[in-house]
Symmetry: C2
DNA sequence: GTCTATACGGAGATAGAC
DNA sequence: GTCTATCTCCGTATAGAC
C-alpha cells in the first residue's frame, strides 16, 4: 500500500512559485507518519506481534528511516506510547477547580465522574490501557508513567479539593487520598472492569448514569457532612 | 537442560518387580509437563513472545509431541490458560455461605474481602490477570471465561447473600448486583489497581487492612440498615 | 536523510524413522 | 506416541548507494 504522505519535489504554490520543502519539516512529517502507523500497529497487535515491516508499509517511509529515527523496536514503542499517554489524559483536565466552590456537591461530583467515565471507556483508550497492562513486565516504565499521568491530571486536583472541603467542614474526609481512590473505584471503576474483560459490552447511557449516580451516592453516604 | 521426568523403562519396584508404565499414564505425565512449562513461559513472555522452542526445552519432551497433543500454539495457549483459571479462583470459594447468618456483618464482610484481596494480589495471579487482559483482542474467550469464573465463584454467592439480607431488612440493597460490584471495587479494587500498574509496590498488612476496612465502612454507610 | 537490498537468526510447524 | 532432523518463512536490524 504505502498510503503515506509522498513528497512532491516539484510542487508549486498558487502563484507558481516552487515550494522547496524544509528538510527539517519533511523529517518531522515522516516522524509523525511513523508514530501514527506504529501506534495503530501496536494497538492492534501488541508489542511482540507488531511487525516493523507492517509499520514500514503503514507509514510510507523505508524501514531504514524508522531505525535512523528511533534506533530499535523497543525505543519506538516507548516513544510512541510514552508520547500518547499524556495527550490521552489531557482530554479530561477541565472542570476540577470548580469543584470546591460548586453550589451542589452531588451534581458536581456526578458531572466529574461521568465525564471521566465517558472518556476512559472509549474503545481506543481501553485498548491503550490493555496494551500497557499486558506489557508491564517488559516495560514497567509505562506503568509508572500511566499512574503518574493519571494522578497528576485527575486524582491530584481532586485530592486538593477534598482537602479543602474537609477543612471547611463540608466533607468528612480525614484521608482524602483514599477517599478519591474509593470515589473513582465505586464510579468509573465498575463499568471499566466490565469493559476490561468484555470489550464489546454495550453500556447504555441510562445504565452508565445509573451506575455512576449510585457510586456517587455511596460516596456521599459516608463522606458528606449532614447538618 | 531437559529436566523433565524421564521414563525409566527398566525400573523395578521395592520387590524387584519391573514397573511397566501404562502408556496412557506416561502420556498424561508428559501432558502435565508440557502444560506446566507452557504456563511458565506464557506468564513470563506473553503469548506472542513465548517460544515453542523454550516450552520444548522446559517440558523435557520433543516439539513434535507438543504439536501432537495440542495442535498449535494458539490451542496450547487456550488450553493452558483456560485450565488454570478455574483452579486459580477455586482457592477462594469457602466462607461465603456463612455470610447471611453471621452475627457481626461488618466482621464477616471484612474477613471475606480481605481473604479475597490477599489471593487476588498474589504476584502469580496478578501476572495471569495482566496476561489475559493484554491478550483480550486475540483471545476474547478468555475474558469471558475470567468474568464467568470470577462471577460464579465469588460475586454470585455474594449477590444471593445480599438478596437474602435485603429481604430480611438487614441490608438496604434493592440492586444487589450493583451493591456487590461496588463493595468489591471499593475494597479489593483499590490495591488491585495500584498493583496493576506498579507490580512491585509494597503493600503492608496494616495498609491493606486499613484500606479494606475503610472500603467496608464506606459500603455499610450506604447499605446497612440502622435501627 | 532517505532509500534498496540483504544479512542473519529464530519463529511455528511437519516428515518420517522407530 | 515419541523422537530427530529439517522445511519455510518472517522477524529485527544494517550496509552502502544517492
Amino acid at each position: 500500500m504505502g498510503a503515506g504522505a509522498e513528497i512532491q519535489d516539484d510542487a508549486t504554490d498558487e502563484y507558481g512559485i516552487p515550494i522547496i520543502p524544509d528538510p527539517a519539516d519533511a523529517a518531522s512529517r515522516k516522524r509523525r507518519a511513523i508514530i501514527d502507523a506504529a501506534l495503530a500497529e501496536f494497538l492492534a497487535e501488541g508489542y511482540s506481534a507488531a511487525s516493523m515491516d507492517a509499520i514500514t508499509r503503514g507509514s510510507g517511509v523505508s524501514k531504514a528511516t524508522i531505525y535512523k529515527h528511533f534506533g530499535s523496536k523497543e525505543r519506538l514503542f516507548l516513544a510512541v506510547i510514552g508520547g500518547v499517554l499524556p495527550k490521552t489524559y489531557a482530554d479530561l483536565e477541565p472542570s476540577d477547580s470548580t469543584l470546591a466552590d460548586a453550589p451542589d456537591l452531588r451534581a458536581a461530583l456526578l458531572r466529574l465522574t461521568t465525564d471521566r467515565a465517558r472518556i476512559l471507556l472509549r474503545p481506543d483508550i481501553m485498548s491503550l490501557r490493555r496494551l500497557v497492562i499486558g506489557e508491564m513486565d517488559r516495560f514497567p516504565q509505562l506503568g509508572q508513567l500511566w499512574y503518574r499521568v493519571s494522578y497528576d491530571m485527575n486524582n491530584g486536583p481532586l485530592v486538593e479539593a477534598f482537602t479543602e472541603l474537609h477543612a471547611r467542614g463540608t466533607l468528612d474526609a480525614p484521608d482524602p487520598v483514599l477517599a478519591v481512590q474509593q470515589l473513582v473505584a465505586a464510579t468509573v471503576g465498575v463499568p471499566q472492569l466490565v469493559r476490561t474483560f468484555s470489550p464489546d459490552a454495550e453500556i447504555s447511557d441510562e445504565e452508565l448514569t445509573r451506575v455512576i449516580g449510585s457510586g456517587v451516592d455511596l460516596f456521599l453516604a459516608r463522606y458528606a457532612v449532614r447538618p
